[in-house]
Subunit: 241 residues, 4 copies
């Protein structure tokens, strides 16, 4: 039975394994859609239906967890693996809150339900190239995150000195100014907070001139690293053209 | 006659073929300009003129369709080819709505008229390099689209938990929160919806720090793939410098 | 005298030529600063001073033009060269409007004064690499401009159908919708115009998912082409590290 | 003693040197957090605590400065080195303002305190690659900064002519228009200032079509230069895959 279970749960090449994966993915997608619809105020009257559907899904995921546990060679390794933890977190909150009265309390646990999403990534092999590319530029990425954080901090202090007196409500403290720094350096620019003094505008000008170059480098680096991964692939295979 | 037609309609190297292409392109451009002007409220009084012009253009496109049909080696292959379908859709809605009274009904069909635009792309050969470049990174692009969708979904749920209580009108449900996630992760930031709680702002901060890198990778990947196509070209020809 | 003039006006390696260039650049910068300050309402009382300064600058540029004309080997070639035309346009509007009463009329001519700026580029040699890089990807850039225009046009029509009924004042016609399309696809997102219907928001979502990739490709392509120019340079010289 | 001091202050490989660095970094981080919290209006009552903490930190940094000075081979070289100046500026403002009454005056000096941050960068070696990459494209970066400044200037004049009459309050002068140009070309788009005339919108359209390509090139160039630095590294080591 062990072999049959293994081929169902972990082997993607057998027919049964394929169907098992397809069904699991469909149920995950369904649970996400239901979770989304639950938050729509207009559908509040369907709450009993949502609760029933949730219970059915939890049963499915529990059976799946038990099967995966049974199929695993090393039980211990499965429980403490990344996906083992994700699988457990997907179902555990439901059992922990059974009989609990205060629903507010439950809500916080439900946030863990999002983790169920990560199961989707189990099914893709194309991630390896991305993983190697990120590995390749790990130090550079960390350096840029540090740089970006420093830049956000420095620009928050700078804009605070320029704008605090003119807009004491919006630029209340350096912490409030950070919200401006983030929205500006990422060029999101919601428009809820922006400099109005000449000094603040000049400061923003130089900040953007210097800052934008740095903030957008990580994605360009990642693309370059991925391109290198492609070149390695192409050295093995003939090019597509 | 078949040979003469072929050289007119499909051969771009003969003089007649060139003029035919130029005239067709001009009529397509004209029909698009007229379509645009029709929507301007100030020009509502010119409606009869627009209708007449539309009728003339439809006659031109119908003649063109008949010519292309006659010139085609395999009639069946032309009708079911991409451009055969586009050509037909460009003229069909007009004939289907002749004599129909309710104009609202017509409007929906007119959306197909946009497809006429794609005819313009028939005339360019430079697309091949783009097509090969997209082919080269197809898997990566799909992976990123999936990632982006997951990121949008997860950030919608996250911001919903943080902002729903503070702004129940703007972050009404996870679906409404998605509109915020899209406007934020693409850095469009219209400013119609943004977090106001400390938690929501902190969440946005980490989302942008992680998310922006991913969202802008596809275009960098496409540029890198196009650059590879250039290198292949340059291996055959000497460089321009 | 001809040789002395040539070494002053066109030769950048002689001492006199260097000083001539420095003084010319300083006067151009000064004229730009004055032009900017002229538009500040608070400085309206200094108008006579600005007029005097403008007259002095025009005399300087006229003398410079005469010198360049005298130094030129082929007078005809200089007059019709790019910089010959720029030089003339920098001073001509002033003489054409002498004695003219209506100042509004003059304003339009003054727009030509901006062209004086382009003289600054004469002094840099580093542009050649950029020029070769642009040459290298000319076809691709044109293709992307065409694509971007098509995308803006199609998205304008699409959003018009979705939003016209809900916001007849903002999305009045396809032309007005184009302003939205530009602000959205470039991710500027001023916030003066944005979709409010579910259909319009979904349309924007897919537009951004597809569109952003295309719109940001040209700059990535340009960077890649410039990188190739660097590699050519590095093949001749040893690397800097 | 000199050798022991050197190994503590400048050598990162000894145990004592490592602890010294860790403690110094922690104190810098602490001083930054305190500085940030000081600006929060709600914490105004904790002012005496902040002042005490600041005094303790200044003592720590002063001792550190004296140790570094004592450990330095050439005292003169340390004082006039980049970090020597930063170290001094981190503590000097405090001593200069001791006994000064007007606190407003002090605030300006406190801006120098931000420089303390740069000490953090002393501890990272990964910057060298970035430094070489920037060196590699120095001329190009300067050229682009000049280009960007020209573009901002020209677009400010252009939009001023189009929008000044329609929005005299927002586009008051060319200088005010520059704020618009910066927010638009960086795609931040706060929404506080945008064109409303047809001419101004058309001008913005062409500006973005041409301008965006240029403004985002520097970061792509930097990424390409960093990639070259990686290739040099990989030529020495075997690739990670």
């Amino acid at each position: 039975m062990h072999t049959w279970l293994s081929s169902l749960v972990t082997d993607k090449n057998t027919r049964a394994g394929k169907y098992f994966d397809l069904v699991t993915q469909a149920v995950i997608a369904l649970s996400l859609i239901l979770f989304t619809l639950e938050t729509v105020p207009e559908l509040a009257s369907y709450a009993p239906f949502f609760e029933l559907a949730e219970a059915v899904i939890i049963i499915f995921f529990t059976v799946e967890y038990v099967l995966r546990f049974a199929a695993a060679g090393s039980k211990r390794a499965y429980i403490f693996s990344f996906y083992g933890i994700i699988d457990l977190l997907s179902i555990l909150p439901f059992f922990l809150t059974l009989g609990v009265v205060d629903l507010r309390f439950v809500r916080i646990f439900r946030l863990f339900r999002l983790l169920r999403l990560f199961k989707l990534t189990r099914y893709t092999h194309a991630l390896n190239r991305l993983k190697r590319a990120v590995d390749d530029i790990k130090e550079e990425l960390i350096l840029y995150v540090v740089f970006t954080l420093l830049l956000i901090y420095l620009s928050s202090i700078g804009i605070y000195y320029f704008e605090n007196q003119a807009q004491p409500e919006k630029f209340r403290s350096v912490i409030d100014s950070m919200w401006w720094a983030i929205a500006t350096l990422t060029t999101v620019g919601y428009g809820d907070i922006f400099p109005i003094t000449a000094g603040g505008k000049l400061f923003t000008f130089f900040l953007l001139l210097i800052g934008l170059g740095f903030v957008s480098v990580p994605s360009a680096l990642l693309a370059a690293a991925l391109t290198r991964q492609f070149r390695h692939r192409n050295d093995e295979q003939p090019p597509s053209s």
